[in-house]
């Protein structure tokens, strides 16, 4: 891309803004200040006990937390849990089975179900056009066989990938680093909290690195989880360089012969190139010391629509994503975007979140995932 492009763009912008701002400011009554925007919010030490400007004593983080999580989860399989909200496919299934033969309407029903599950137009077309051919060739004649064929086809798209979390048995002092990335609010911190507990329970030594130095109280949130699993946490001041926080975490883990560092990062939209660059740097710096990044997990919210594919692509470009964690799958959303992510980007879904308790983060089982959609 030539330099002239930017000139052109900038020229237009500068003109537009210059003129626009001037005119707009004139229009506004005098005295409406348009101050230059200050750089990010003042970094404050995240210490909780400043009561001067709050009205009530600081609540103990733990007391809030424990009440919410104390009761152990009713252990349920993905399928059972998802069956709670299975209305998406139920209508289509009833529609297809309700006809004595396979008609165009049968395909319409299935397409609707797929689209409503956020599978996306392209994948839905692919799935159904294959079936249309089979129906035309009389390979499939019964409505129930059509459902089975679609289920098989969908499952086929997901199986085959290695979905285990990669952990290398390095020499003591050389920790594995698992990084967690994703857009804002998908559940990175919560995922780390749950996974840390599970890893500790399975006998690994874990350290958490609070690399989200941007969102207010993100480190506190992670600290609450650290306490719950009784693991070390390394954190920096609010607004600190996340690379250095994670680097420090790795160093500390190496010194204490901790096997696994789980590194949180601030949520960021994949469109913000400066923040994406920062993430690339975090990824590089995490390996500057004794640690090796053996997993980079992209956390995606199951409610995410077609944008999920773009997210996976962009995060994959800067951090070499090795797996997806699909969260909030216990809601009414179906998370169908994973078909596009697995098909187009070949990034396997490794974990799914199906509830708020620690046990609610489970391995992704493609067959269960698909069959839950088809629950009759």
């Amino acid at each position: 891309m030539g330099i002239e492009f930017f000139f052109l763009i900038l020229a237009v912008f500068v003109v537009a803004f210059g003129i626009g701002v001037v005119l707009l400011n004139r229009r506004k009554s005098v005295g409406q200040p348009a101050p230059g925007r200050p750089t990010p919010p003042p970094a404050r030490p995240p210490v909780a006990q400043s009561e001067g400007d709050t009205l009530v004593a600081e609540p103990e983080v733990d007391s809030e937390v424990d009440s919410a999580v104390e009761e152990e989860p009713p252990a349920g399989t993905l399928r059972e849990r998802l069956a709670k909200a299975r209305s998406t496919f139920a209508g289509a299934i009833a529609g297809v089975l309700g006809r004595s033969a396979i008609t165009d309407e049968s395909f319409d029903d299935l397409e609707e179900a797929l689209l409503r599950a956020d599978v996306g137009v392209a994948i839905a077309d692919e799935l159904l056009s294959g079936l249309r051919v089979k129906v035309a060739n009389k390979e499939i004649t019964e409505p129930s066989d059509l459902l089975d064929a679609l289920q098989a086809e969908m499952t086929k798209r997901l199986v085959g990938s290695d979905r285990s979390l990669n952990f290398e048995p390095f020499e003591p002092g050389n920790p594995n680093v698992w990084m967690f990335v994703g857009v804002n609010g998908v559940g990175k911190t919560t995922t780390i909290g749950k996974l840390a507990k599970q890893q500790v329970d399975s006998g690994r030594s874990v350290l958490l690195a609070a690399g989200d130095t941007f969102r207010a109280a993100a480190a506190e949130q992670l600290a609450a989880w650290a306490e719950r699993s009784d693991v070390d946490i390394v954190r920096g001041a609010d607004g600190a360089d996340p690379s250095s926080v994670i680097f420090d975490g790795v160093e500390k883990a190496a010194a204490n012969k901790v096997e696994l560092v789980m590194a949180d990062t601030a949520g960021r939209l994949h469109t913000k190139s400066n923040l994406m660059d920062e993430l690339g740097k975090v990824r590089r710096v995490a390996e500057k010391g004794a640690g090796t990044v053996t997993e980079t997990l992209l956390v995606i919210d199951a409610t995410t629509g077609q944008n999920g594919l773009t997210q996976a692509r962009e995060f994959g470009e800067v951090t070499n994503v090795t797996g997806v964690v699909l969260t909030k799958l216990d809601g009414s959303a179906k998370g169908g975007i994973v078909f596009a992510i697995e098909t187009e980007l070949a990034i396997p879904v490794k974990l799914v979140g199906i509830g708020e308790t620690i046990g609610d983060l489970i391995d992704f089982d493609p067959e269960e995932f698909v069959s839950a959609l088809f629950e009759r």
Partner: protein
Amino acid sequence: MFDNLSNRLEGIITKVRGKGRLTESDVDEVMKEIRTALLEADVNLTVVRSICNRIREHALGATRSKALDPGQQVVKAVNDELTRALGGETLTITYASKPPTVVLMAGLQGSGKTTNSAKLAAWFKAQGRNPMMIGADLQRPAAVEQLRTLGRQIDVPVFSDPQDPILTATKGLEEAKRLGRDVVIVDTAGRLSIDTEMMEQVRLISGAVNPDYTFLVIDAMTGQDAVQTAEAFHNTLKIDGVIMSKMDGDARGGAALSVKEVIGRPIAFASTGEKLDEFEQFHPDRMASRILGMGDMLTLIEQAEKAFTEDQAEAAATKLMEGQFTLDDFLEQMQALKKMGSLGGLMSMMPGMPKELKNAKIDDNDLKPIEAIITSMTIEERTFPAIIQGTRRARIAAGSGTTVADVNRLVKQFGEMQKMMKKMGMAGKPGKSKKGKGAKGGKGAKGGQKMPKGLPLGFDPAASGFEIPGLPGTPGMPGMPGMPGMPR
């Protein structure tokens, strides 16, 4: 946003343009494209269907009519329908006659309730109100701490009681009355719409504070589920408006349109960035014109207003018009510009941008060499680029880590830009008399809001007649149609 849609619509225009007559199968083909485009933008399937049906009616009408250009009519039908679906008034807040005005925030986990509570509080503050926030999210670890930290940043008090969310809400409201705060924002825990227990809890909180406004916070990246969620919350709480969060991403698409269509409540606010002041009232008409590829100048200008100071902008604009714009000024403007967000994002708001520019992947990093080159120049060189010859060129190239050719090109382009600006300045002359023109400019700016509707669909940018010379592959530069206050 809706880039796909705009592009596809353009494709449709080219396909049907010039056809004397549309057949029904033409319409079917067009409808398929529209449907796919809407679905890819995450518009809810039900909404897609109703929109498509209405468009189809119009379009079929067009095939029967003997109108001159049926293709244009189809496109017009699409435009009208989208504007209608998204349309409506901007929500105006009516403050309670007996303060405080209570606002309840609800939504799924991670939709951005806490952040947007603080943003909303900051917004109320900017309206001259005295807000207070209540942290009733006792579920997520450190959620209240997050709210407190944000509260400190915007200097708004936060109340919370660790025992119970409903008690927190009631006591918080009492506290607000005692302190004479006139707006109270209640942040609640994220909850799934199918979690009956948690939905009951938020209903009780709502009952306890009796909110004047209940806002549902929805992530702009949400897919088909947005509607289900909105309906469930609406059934439990009676939603008054929606806050769309994360509108600064590239997806923010169909959820907005769908929710409005299904629960019939407007999108009240949109969160457009990570900083607490990146939050604005949602203007459906602006969004509609953005979808239609007509840009969103007003929002752009409001953002510019925040990034540039008035004096700075005025000085720059004057210099620009008079052709005295130096590379130093350029650098300064460029840096201010960066504060407004990514170039790509800004680009999407510019009206009338040709496709070549819109589709160009603009990476903010590509600006770095330009910056490096300029900063490697002496002040004198920045002021009079003409003096940059042989050895200076080599020095600048070495200093900035670029090549002599790069430096050359920049200087040459800058010269051309200057010429162009000067020409425009002559043509435009937006008010030499500084204060005197204020009123007139104001009127124009106001008119700009409605302008997109008035624009002819087949609007030909080149015809508005200002061109950038020396630009390979770009068919002239568009005018800036929606440009408020630009004398025409």
